[in-house]
Amino acid sequence: MAEASTLNLRGLQGLIDALRGRGYRVMGPTVRNGAIIIDEVLSIDDLPRGVGDEQDAGHYRLTRRDDDALFGFAAPMQSAKPVFFPADELLWHGRRNADEGFSVEAAPTTQPPVALLGVRSCDLAAVGIHDVVLTSRALIDPRYASRREGTFVVATTCADPAGTCFCASMGTGPKPQAGYDIALTELLDGEHRFLAEAGTPTGEELLACLQTSATTADDVTAAQTLVAQAVAGMGRTMRTDDLREVLYEGVESPHWDDVASRCLACQNCTMVCPTCFCTSVEDVSDLAGDVDERHRVWDSCFSQEYSRLHTNFVRASTGSRYRQWITHKLGAWNDQFGMSGCVGCGRCITWCPAAIDITAEVAALRDEQTDRG
Amino acid sequence: MRTITGLLDDSPFFHGLPAPVIAQVAGCAQTARFERGDMLFQAGQPADTFYVIRHGRVAVELHNPSRGTITLDTLHDGEVVGWSWLIPPYRWMFGARAVESTSAVAFDGACLRGKCDTDPALGYALMQRVSQVMYERLQASRVQLLDMYGAPT
């Protein structure tokens, strides 16, 4: 592990300024409309000082902490996903030519580089998963690839997991292990400060430009204790060694009817999930039909249209759609990409209006199979 | 010149029946030949005779004034044409027409029914085989009914 240095609040502001000075658009957690969302951050005053959160199945509330922590909450409402993978993206712009033909121009892929500030370990793991899904197979998403290139990542350790968190079970947190340029651990006893570890030469080089102080052995221990406490304080757990088998085996289970009686197919879970990547395409034309813009938009396997085949829907029922989502996320994803599709962020549980809990659904399926013997 | 018994032994429908049973059945059978266009039987007629095709092609058809004659099924070598001889009121629901030169073994339905009445074992064996034919034809009809190549509606 790279040697740590310590930043105080002024140092953290210096980090933001240095990033902005290098042309990065700094995206970090902010409070808006009673939720924490990722938005552009200009100063440490934009961060959610003293804000905590309370999350449970179908429940999300911001709380007032009794300290001034800047990162004292768990998963924000939305992950880093929309930063690199927008909900609506122009793919190309087409124009009809005089000779009945048309010409097509790809949408530009360049844009100002992004610096993520305070990204959670689970969400960082999710970005890593998207890197595999969207850029490491035979055909890639070049716009995503371009946005990821030159991204600067300042991750943060979670000290206060929420009621729906289970990153420890999924091996994706609470401390970021990889994929960051700098990782911060917020320490509040005494001077408000941040243990900063560089994960890349770029991160090292930036830290070297900032006003930092040497990290004490006590602080290293304090940081480790925070992590241990966070692991012990996870809201939920999920056994993972047999997920693929449990889900593949359970394909004809009556359990899906049970979930179907609760699930509204509202698509909230897929919208907030940091690893979901399904999209659709839309052609937007003008009235004269001379212009055709092709957009790529987020889509969800919970929509009936998703599985349309001519005049029929392959997954007509909510039960089969829920089964598709959970089986893909926890099972088939392994076969497709060599890893689980779930990072344990708990958002699907928090934001489900029917309070459906992915960890409970899997446990129910497993119990049913164990009972059957 | 093959004997009837020999022909029956070879046909898939009777294949595997014990020799005495084949002999009994042969007693109700004779060879038949149809040229292209000949009707084996017409819809509505009494189902006196049924056929096992030796070689050729027979169309099972229904005539409809507005649409003409529709072919519902075509039968080929080794296949049984007709089972209404076994089910009351012993009348053909469809017509059967030789599409090409066809040789067949023809069975007297009443003769066979009589032998089945006196010999239940024979009756059971024939019933089993006719049921198998009906099963296959029903499956095939249902698949055709699906109209799976039709335009999606």
């Binding site: 790529r296 085949l309 029922s317 | 190549y149």
Partner: protein, 283 residues
């Protein structure tokens, strides 16, 4: 194709290449075969069984199997049935119109692997179109194969596709071609009944046979049962599967059948991989 255009098309798989319609043939009352030529002059090479994403400007895009001869350099050929907005735009496209093409995508029939044995091709309805390239590939090296049997089920005689090719395959190229219809009008002297019936009687040597199936899923599963029943090895059966596709390149997620992306792992899939997935409700 210019180096930049080629690099761009490869780098951005969602960008369509413009092709001009140079021929449009009405096959049946709802099916048309289009011949396309690339505006940049760079021919599209493909394997039998692959598909492209065809784009009708201002309307949308659909996956269509390539139905041309892969051994014959020439226009890009697709046989399209009018079943929705996009296919309607494509079947009504006039000669000279421009359509967008992305691809070719997906897995092919792997006709070469069937060499040295018998081949059974079972086609249901428009399923004959994706098999047509395989038939021409076999015809091109006819002596490499044993008995070649094409069993083709159509709705009615007026829905039979590629009548001219059927004659040549049966005649010049020594294939056993059997056509059957679900509905036989008075003018039809041929077979009536489901294509599965043909499978139980066709002349091929099961242990040496490779079977290629394409048609409605029900027809393919019934055909698989008939072929397995005759002793065709399970690892020599291939089906062409179909699902909703929005990208054709494994990124949109729509075509998934459990862990399989039909656009990348398919559309041609070995029966052994499909077996646990075929009979499950709404999978």
């Amino acid at each position: 194709m210019t180096a930049t255009a080629a690099a761009q098309a490869h780098a951005d798989p969602m960008l369509p290449r413009p092709f001009r319609v140079i021929g449009s043939r009405l096959d049946t009352d709802d099916t048309v075969t289009l011949s396309l030529e690339p505006l940049d002059g760079d021919p599209l090479e493909f394997e039998a069984g692959q598909f492209t994403m065809l784009h009708a400007f201002g309307v949308g895009e659909v996956p269509i199997s390539i139905s041309g001869d892969p051994t014959w350099p020439g226009p890009l050929v697709h046989t399209i049935r009018d079943v929705g907005n996009v296919t309607h735009a494509l079947v009504t496209a006039q000669v000279g119109a421009i359509v967008g093409v992305r691809g070719p995508y997906g897995t092919g029939w792997r006709v070469g692997e069937a060499r040295g044995g018998d081949v059974v091709l079972a086609a249901g309805g428009i399923g004959l179109a994706p098999l047509r390239p395989a038939l021409w590939e076999i015809a091109d090296r006819r002596d490499d194969f044993g008995r070649v049997v094409l069993l083709y089920g159509a709705r009615s005689p007026s829905d039979v596709l590629f009548a001219h090719d059927l004659e040549r395959w049966a005649g010049e190229f020594g294939m056993d071609v059997e056509i059957t219809v679900d509905y036989g009008p008075p003018t039809w002297d041929g077979r009536v009944g489901p294509v599965t019936k043909l499978l139980s009687r066709a002349g091929f040597d099961p242990p040496r046979t490779t079977a290629l199936l394409c048609g409605p899923e029900i027809m393919m599963t019934l055909s698989v049962n008939a072929l397995l029943g005759r002793g065709v090895p399970a690892d020599r059966l291939r089906l062409s599967m179909e699902r909703n596709m929005k990208c054709g390149v494994g990124l949109c997620g729509h075509c998934q059948l459990r862990e399989l992306f039909i656009c990348v792992d398919g559309p041609v899939l070995d029966y052994e991989r499909l077996a646990p997935l075929l009979d499950v409700w709404e999978l």
